[in-house]
Symmetry: none
Subunit: 151 residues, 4 copies
DNA sequence: GTGGTCTAGACCACG
DNA sequence: GTGGTCTAGACCACA
């Protein structure tokens, strides 16, 4: 499960993590019954405080997306509601589209051209895919913690 | 001066406003000497608290981008430093690119395809341009010349 | 709003606080629209850490019982669901009855007689009523903080 | 030896078990020399994890209430100190009274009347007695006398 | 090993 | 003034 956090971003770290895990659950990358990384592992992997991850998991649990089992771990729940997660997925996508649009808007204000934006999009898609692929092959849990790069 | 705020967004309202004004200044939509809307007008227009706008203007003033003249209003300053705003513009663009990339990443996690994203980009660009044009015809926001009245 | 916390108890402080606030909301002591004490005030009044209260409020907000408004305070929400809070009240009472019964069970194991238990009940009821009354007359916010008594 | 655990309760399972065994010891339901059920039996009977019961027995042993004899089982010890268990009994009762009072307090917050509470108390006492009696007829849980076998 | 609670203190954002 | 996020570290409970 690949998670990417943007340290300088205006949106709080916890929210970035939460939204990405939620995306994984809703889009099926994480299936019901799958276990999430333990609170501590995810915290060290992402280089954030344990409590930050705890709050993320608690909120996802309150939403009914995951379940925390004392002493066992945290697991993805099957979707409850009638229409299940389809509604939620749609909601999340709409929200995402609004944010996307806002970023583009700001990009144009900064003088970026349509061509530049398209190039940026292509690159971003390629990068993301590379990340996701490399992860699929990933050796289990040998990631460096708290490298000082990229902050 | 068109400003668009995304209510449900994770990035705080004040930051959204600040970044868009900064973008306008750096990219030349707002020229040195131009006046910003009054704190109250902008607050009303955007539906946010007056203090929020006050703090935005204060920070922009602290950055040296604008100047608040007591009793007159807030005005865009000519760029100070040697390379002036070019450095700042570049910084802002880099930041923007990181945010763009993060949004695309999340979009892909939510299952959006490259095609969908490209379509979204095209629409967003068109929307933004439409907004900017419609605004160009607006009343030119009453730019007072620096009168020596009052204090 | 009277809240009583038992420091040596096995049930965590945050849970004690949460259950009492929930009881106040469900039974009508706290009406929709009423404001809860601010996070910091309640924390100092009870002599607990601010974060503890924050977590309590967050969980009540996740339950849909209250709403936290940034910069304004925390407020009781009108009950949502169809049957409203009646179901929840009933649930809470059942839970309470089970706990009551468990305590009585343990009391009897410790050799308490029916008479002693009845006396204890009478006293407890009287104490609680006294607390609730004295609070009704209470001078607003002049309570001592962190007295070292009663731990 | 009747033990009743309340699954949804806020106080941890292990503590519930420990307190009830302690109550049985202090009040004389369990006499010095009596054997406790084996760790596995009790765990199965209560439907909890074996380790949970192990830790309970270890703590009771650390308190000096019971003794774990390797390969034989766990046995109630005669009371050590001068005043022995009288002090401990008194302590436990005080703690119990505080918990009782807290539950009553919460019951009143939930809108229960004095009459309802008294009814509840009567029922709880009756239930407990029924449980204890039915158990008295049980098979007497195989009390081995301290054989000098093994070590 | 897992999650859960609590503390203390810092800094940010909104009204 | 209000709530919100983050850190660091301690200790407890469950499997």
């Amino acid at each position: 499960m690949h998670i990417r956090i943007e340290r300088g971003s205006s949106s709080p770290i916890s929210r970035q993590i939460m939204e990405q895990i939620r995306a994984h659950c809703l889009s099926g990358t994480l299936q019901p019954g799958d276990s999430l990384p333990s609170v501590r592992k995810l915290a060290t992997r992402l280089g954030v405080n344990v409590n930050t991850v705890v709050r993320v998991y608690e909120r996802l649990a309150a939403e009914g997306l995951v379940e925390m089992r004392h002493g066992e771990g945290t697991f993805v729940l099957p979707q409850s509601g009638v229409s299940g997660n389809r509604e939620q997925l749609a909601e999340q996508r709409e929200q995402l589209e609004r944010e996307f649009s806002a970023v583009v808007h700001r990009g144009i204000l900064l003088g970026l051209t349509a061509t530049e934006l398209r190039k940026l999009l292509t690159n971003s898609i390629a990068d993301t895919r590379a990340n996701l692929k490399s992860e699929a092959v990933e050796q289990p849990e040998s990631r460096p913690v708290k490298t000082e790069s990229g902050r």
